[in-house]
Amino acid sequence: MSGRERPVRAHDLFWLVAGFSVWAGGFSALYGLHAIGCRAGWDEMDFVSLSVNRWALTGVYLAHITAGAALYLPLRAIAGRWQGESARTMRQVAVALTLAALASTIWSGAPVLVLEGCI
């Protein structure tokens, strides 16, 4: 990481909230989709041995995990160029938050994999 080093700027604060915004999006999407699916009777429609509801939820779950993980790459590149007095701590905090958010996305959506249905 050389050459284009620069100080941390106000818009870099975005990285403090990006990861958990993905978590929040995933959480709301799972909750909302589950409610809609139950209302629409998707839990009773089967598709390749699993209910449509299960497919939809698992899909959303994996999509948000992917999105959360995908944040990490640009963050590494951008945070690597930060320099100046705040750079080290900000980098640590941003990376920790992005990874923690990813872990949270995995954890709080995990019931999708084990539990069933609309009861």
Binding site: F27, T89, W107, L115, G117
Partner: protein, 833 residues
């Protein structure tokens, strides 16, 4: 560098900054004054809430106690919960933040002193309305979470519930104001060199807390507005007979209510984080860890709201998401606790008075956290939900996680306010009475709950095994009350007899102790250059240097109230903020709102608009007083630093404040959309027979009007940037006109096309979305008209562009939300109808 003696500097500054006395006190806007008012008022409400708690415990001391009847008991416990949560806990946090922030950030005041003064009056007036209802015997009586339909007009016909809805909303306005104030102050109004990562952790805690307040209060405000619309005008949002859903209220309430617990907890944890290293004589371990932990906590706490609704019949899978998320919050909490223990390990801690309260905090809070984890388990929750076990858990968290740290903080910072030290022997006895009384009351209450005693019952039969534990709880609560009384006695003694000191009695390392005590009205005679997290440790003589004017902006050479604004991240000085003088406007504007709320309470709906007009007039006057009619000269800040004045700076706090206010507004709008979708997917009798029908042409006109107003406001700002006054005026006028036409169009839509808002919840929520858009367009008209007037009177130039940027942002926000709202109400019936 400066040769002026400190006392001369002090006199000059004090002449500019001193607080007004007598009736003029109503015009005070200084942060120390307003913060102190918040704190004192909050403690008065704490005493009132505590008195109510004593009545509760007196009633429950014996089975079949004839002391209070069901009606009185219901009012009392509802008021106890409401007073403690809305009139004590939140305002106390705001007060502490407003008082401390400039002092720990090295500033002379907050970003918007008048805004926090306005917030204080809203709080005082709203709290007074609620309190007055209790004295008149018509206090709210549906529980502090006011579940519908019990709180709807069918089952609570009197004014009781309206008092809650209107009074609490009034107080919430003050919370939103305080939150904007806190966020902007922390991000912009710091001393030179204080980068984000050199900020004291307390500032991080308050920043995160205020961010949460911006997102958490709007759902509650929305819920209150909808319920009040139902009660006043019969719009059936929550009435299952007409397509409403009573659970919508619960979602909106807990969407606020759960984050609220963390909003209360985080500043208290911030105080813990501040105090521990001071008394352990070392530095905090894991600064970065703690910042990451509190940001995670803030987010996660929004994923928990349903855990108060485990018994309402939500599918198990959905509950499992919330169960998992509510366990997850244990991790950031544990990180903080271990950072604290590691700090203690590294240091040589002493059991001084604030530390004693912290020990109380630790022991109570950890147990509260553990019972919380138990409650987060679905099967256990089904058993313990709504028993006294929950009451016990709640008080372990609230008193342990909030009251104890706040008592610690009080004993730590009170000397800064009074210039005197506490009287130790009295303080220690107070602590032990509170601590033992607390456990006597609430430890035993866990068992009462496990034995099956429900909460919110005004009496119980003897012989169920509940008699003895209840009696013990009641005795314990009186011991605790005696402890609090002694705490007050201690404060009085401290004021009269406490030992005087000059500076830094505890050996703190932050800027708050780099000023003489009692803290002067202007905080710092000059603003220091900060080069680390512990400025007072780097330079123990910092206080004297500041007082001698060795920092920036020494004294008041221009007879102005000045402080620095810095770059958000690096803390490099960016411009000079000129602060407003004392002003009656906030008081009068809040008074206008009070007129509105009181008249509304008495069902004088048309007259109540008078209050809104009064508030709007003073709001206009407030805005008008900003800025100047000529481009200002840059100011000499000392040490060769020459900075622009804030209204000529691009990153002025005003615009930032507007943006954060709009963030809260967006949360409000998002909650409204959530409400629409929630009703659509879960309420009975949807979709309704009678839906919105609108022809494409009218829709396209409306959309064009909204978009046009937004684009024209943007063009006006761009023209202004280029110094083109003619186009600035034409585009602004065009934007105002477009908004006016759109307003007429929306009015026609509401009157001619929309289904009746009273026959079905569909009509009600559709009308609410149209109303939201209409209100914003109306304000858009006012904003653009205001900008035009400012243009005519010469307040606007390419350099003084805040009015133009404000109008641009408002019109853009209006266009986006109104278009989204229209799309929703037009497309949903098409897609699902």
């Amino acid at each position: 560098m400066s040769r002026i003696p400190p006392i001369t500097l002090h006199r000059a500054l004090h002449a500019v900054w001193k607080a007004p006395r007598g009736p003029g006190a109503l015009s005070a806007v200084n942060h120390s004054v307003v913060g102190r008012r918040f704190i004192i008022t909050a403690f008065v409400f704490f005493a009132i809430g505590g008195l109510l708690a004593m009545l509760i415990r007196a009633q429950l001391a014996r089975p079949e106690n004839p002391f209070l009847g069901a009606d009185a008991y219901n009012q009392i416990f509802t008021m106890h919960g409401t007073v403690m949560m809305f009139l004590f806990a939140i305002p106390l946090i705001e007060g502490v933040a407003l008082y401390l922030l400039p002092k720990i950030l090295g500033a002379r005041d907050l970003a918007f002193p008048r805004l926090s003064a306005f917030g204080y009056w809203c709080y005082l007036f709203g709290g007074t309305i609620i309190l007055a209802s209790m004295l008149m015997g018509v206090a709210p009586d549906s529980g502090w979470f006011m579940y519908t339909p019990l709180s709807s007009s069918t089952y609570t016909p009197g004014v009781n519930a309206d008092v809650w809805l209107l009074g609490v909303t009034f107080v919430e306005i003050s919370a939103i104001c305080a939150a904007v104030e806190i966020v902007v102050t922390i991000l912009k109004v710091r001393t030179a060199g204080m980068s984000l990562t050199r900020m004291p952790l307390m500032a991080w805690y308050l920043l995160v807390t205020a961010g949460m307040m911006l997102l958490a209060f709007p759902p509650l405000i929305l819920g209150s507005v909808l319920l009040e619309l139902e009660r006043a005008f019969d719009w059936p949002f929550f009435d299952p007979e007409r397509g409403g859903a009573s659970l919508l209220w619960q979602h909106l309430f807990w969407l606020f209510g759960h984050p609220e617990v963390y909003i209360i907890f985080l500043p208290a944890a911030g105080a813990v984080t501040t105090l521990i290293p001071v008394f352990a004589r070392t530095k905090i371990v894991g600064y970065g860890w703690i910042v990451a932990a509190i940001i995670s906590l803030a987010f996660l706490s929004f994923g928990l709201w349903v855990h108060h609704m485990f018994t309402v019949g939500i599918p198990h899978l959905a509950l499992a998401f919330f169960s998992a998320a509510s366990m997850l919050v244990a991790v950031p909490t544990a990180i903080q606790v271990f950072a604290w223990t590691a700090t203690l390990m590294r240091g040589r801690p002493q059991m001084s008075l604030p530390m004693l309260y912290l020990m109380g905090f630790f022991s109570v809070f950890i147990l509260g956290g553990l019972t919380g984890v138990m409650l987060a388990l679905v099967p256990f929750n089904w058993q313990a939900h709504d028993t006294h076990f929950v009451v016990a858990h709640l008080h372990y968290v609230l008193i342990g996680g909030f009251v104890f740290p706040m008592l610690a903080a009080t004993s730590y910072w009170l000397p800064l306010m009074t210039g005197r030290m506490p009287v130790f022997s009295v303080s220690r006895s107070a602590f032990w009475l509170i601590f033992l009384g607390f456990h006597g009351t609430f430890l035993i209450m866990h068992f009462t709950g496990l034995l099956g005693m429900p909460r919110r019952v005004f009496t119980y039969e003897g012989g169920l095994g509940w008699d003895a534990p209840n009696l013990i709880s009641s005795i314990g609560s009186f011991v605790m009350a005696a402890g609090f009384a002694l705490f007050v006695v201690d404060i009085v003694l401290q004021l009269r007899f406490g030992r005087r000191f000059r500076r830094n009695p505890w050996g703190g390392t932050g800027l708050d102790w780099a000023m003489p005590a009692p803290a002067p009205s202007y905080n710092f005679a000059s603003l220091p250059l900060v080069t680390s997290r512990d400025p007072l440790e780097d330079n123990p003589r910092l206080g004297a240097d500041i007082a001698a004017g060795k920092g920036y902006l020494a004294g008041a050479p221009r007879a102005e109230m000045e402080t620095l604004c810095v770059d958000m991240v690096s803390g490099e000085p960016d411009h000079v903020l000129l602060l407003p003088k004392n002003d009656y406007t906030p008081f009068l504007m809040a008074g206008g709102l009070a007129v509105f709320f009181v008249l509304f309470l008495f069902s004088a709906y048309a007259f109540s608009l008078v209050g809104v007009v009064i508030a709007a007039v003073f709001g206009w006057r407030w805005l008008w007083s900003l800025g100047a009619r000529t481009d200002p000269e840059p100011l000499d800040a000392g040490h060769g630093l020459v900075l622009p004045v804030h209204y000529a700076a691009r990153s002025a706090p005003t615009i930032l404040g507007l943006k954060y206010f709009l963030a809260a507004n967006a949360a409000f709008f998002g909650s409204l959309i959530f409400g629409y979708l929630f009703l659509w997917t879960t309420a009975p009798d949807w979709p309704p027979p009678d839906i919105l029908d609108i022809d494409l042409l009218r829709l396209a006109t409306l959309a064009a009007g909204l978009a046009g107003a937004g684009v024209l406001a943007r063009l006006a700002r761009r023209a202004n940037d280029k110094g083109d006054a003619r186009w600035r005026m034409l585009a602004l006028a065009g934007s105002a006109l477009a908004s006016l036409l759109t307003l007429a169009g929306l009015g026609a839509l509401a009157l001619l096309n929309a289904p009746s808002p009273v026959s079905h919840a569909y009509g009600a929520i559709t009308m609410a979305v149209i109303g939201y858009a209409g209100l914003h367009v109306l304000l858009g008209v006012l904003f653009t008209a205001y900008a035009l007037a400012r243009h005519l009177f010469g307040y606007v130039s390419a350099v003084r562009s805040a009015d133009m940027r404000g109008a641009e942002i408002w019109q853009a926000y209006t266009a986006i939300t109104a278009l989204a709202g229209l799309a929703l109400i037009v497309l949903m019936p098409g897609a699902f109808g």
